[in-house]
Amino acid sequence: MIEIIVDIVLLLMAIYLIAGLLFSIYFLAKGVAKLDEDAKNSPWHFKLIIWPGTVLLWSVLLLKMIRK
């Protein structure tokens, strides 16, 4: 039973991270400037530093973008 639960949780985590990876490509290319005006014309190293957060917290960013 515990094996099934662990496998399901790990699978969900993997799906979430893959979705985050895909989202981060769009977000760093275009979305970030739409969501936050201060991020317009920001340097590549700023995008690099927020990239891990974008992959992990993409669901919150997506909600914010939809609401905006």
Binding site: A39, H45, F46, I50, L57, V60
Partner: protein
């Protein structure tokens, strides 16, 4: 202060802070390896690495947790708070090295996926002596990771203060997981009583210092001001020190600043990370947060251009020889005519 972002805002003070962290880490690692080479020559380099970085992360976590309450008790510790985020990220990197090598060493050479193996290689979840303590460390590492990746100001602004604060308060959950991870892990490895005493001392110190700082904060909030027609009495005009504030709690905390013979009142909470503006000073004509130096103009609560942070302002009046503040806040950034003390001399 937000007007265009960059990756890391390094200034000379932050560079000094980070250099201090780096030097400490290097001295610690050299000392640790030197001592272990003498005392435990049989230990493998992987084991040494796991131990060294585990202990270092545990130490950093304690330092990070005491900085906040220490600053509440005495402003002399404020320089430590100034760049706590860099220490937090450093702690995560150190913990990640510890975690990665542990996973490689203990779960990386079997048939099972290493992450799956953390959860399934030991199924004694109901046993205290054999509990799979690495699971606890794994979850703590995820929390530290979320905190580290969201430490840039971009995240504070775009997640919103509420979500950001909630996420970063998870450090206490992570601390509880780490205490259990260390204690259960050590129990299974027959660590000495001295080791347990050190862990206990750390836990008691963290708890006590939080309780003392919390008591001090509560005392400030419990002081009920005299209220008359929506105005709360602050103090006499002569009680103010130049370029400093008097704070008053009436539902919200309000900071009343004296500068250039005038008084202005703003909401006490900095928009950056909730720092206590009333414990700061007026520097170059601006209220300056003691935590990270965010600035606001006293007359309208706005950060000076080109920055765009705003705090609420309050009306003031003098009545019966006392300064009174209107408890109803104006909009954030709304101009309020400062109270000119010279008019009452």
């Amino acid at each position: 202060m937000s007007v265009g972002y960059t990756s890391i805002l390094w200034n000379s003070e932050k560079k000094r802070y980070d250099r201090g962290i780096l030097i400490f880490v290097l001295v610690y690692l050299i000392s640790f390896y030197g001592l272990h080479a003498l005392l435990h020559p049989e230990a493998t380099s992987e084991t040494l690495l796991i131990r060294a970085f585990g202990i270092l992360a545990f130490f950093f976590l304690h330092v990070i947790l005491v900085i906040g309450p220490l600053c509440r008790l005495n402003p002399v510790f404020l320089p430590l708070l100034y760049n706590r985020r860099h220490m937090g990220v450093s702690m995560f990197i150190v913990a990640l090295i510890h975690g990665s090598f542990s996973i490689m060493q203990f779960h990386g050479f079997g048939d099972m996926n290493p992450i799956r193996s953390i959860f399934l290689s030991n199924l004694d979840y109901i046993s205290l002596n054999e509990f799979p303590f690495q699971v606890l460390g794994f979850f703590a590492l995820i929390i530290f990771g979320l905190m580290a990746v969201s430490s840039h100001d971009f995240w504070l602004k775009n997640l919103g203060a509420k979500i950001w604060k909630m996420l970063h308060m998870m450090v206490y959950v992570a601390y509880a997981l780490i205490i259990l991870h260390v204690v259960l892990g050590a129990t299974q490895n027959d660590k000495s009583t001295v080791f347990f005493m050190i862990v206990l001392l750390g836990f008691v110190s963290i708890t006590l210092i939080h309780l003392v700082a919390g008591k001090k904060e509560k005392k400030v909030d419990n002081e009920k001001p005299i209220v008359d027609h929506g105005y709360a009495r602050v103090c006499k005009p002569e009680d103010f020190e130049e370029n400093k504030a008097k704070m008053i709690t009436c539902g919200e905390r309000i900071a009343v600043f004296k500068y250039d013979g005038k008084l202005s009142a703003v909401h006490n909470v900095c928009k950056h990370q909730g720092g206590p503006l009333g414990e700061g000073e007026i520097v170059d004509g601006c209220i300056t947060c003691p935590w990270h130096g965010y600035q606001y103009l006293p007359g309208n609560g706005q950060s000076p251009p080109p920055f765009n942070e705003k705090v609420a302002t309050y009306e003031l009046k003098i009545q019966d020889g006392y300064v009174w503040v209107n408890m109803e806040a104006k909009a954030e950034g709304e101009e309020v005519e400062p109270l000119n003390l010279r008019d009452y001399e």
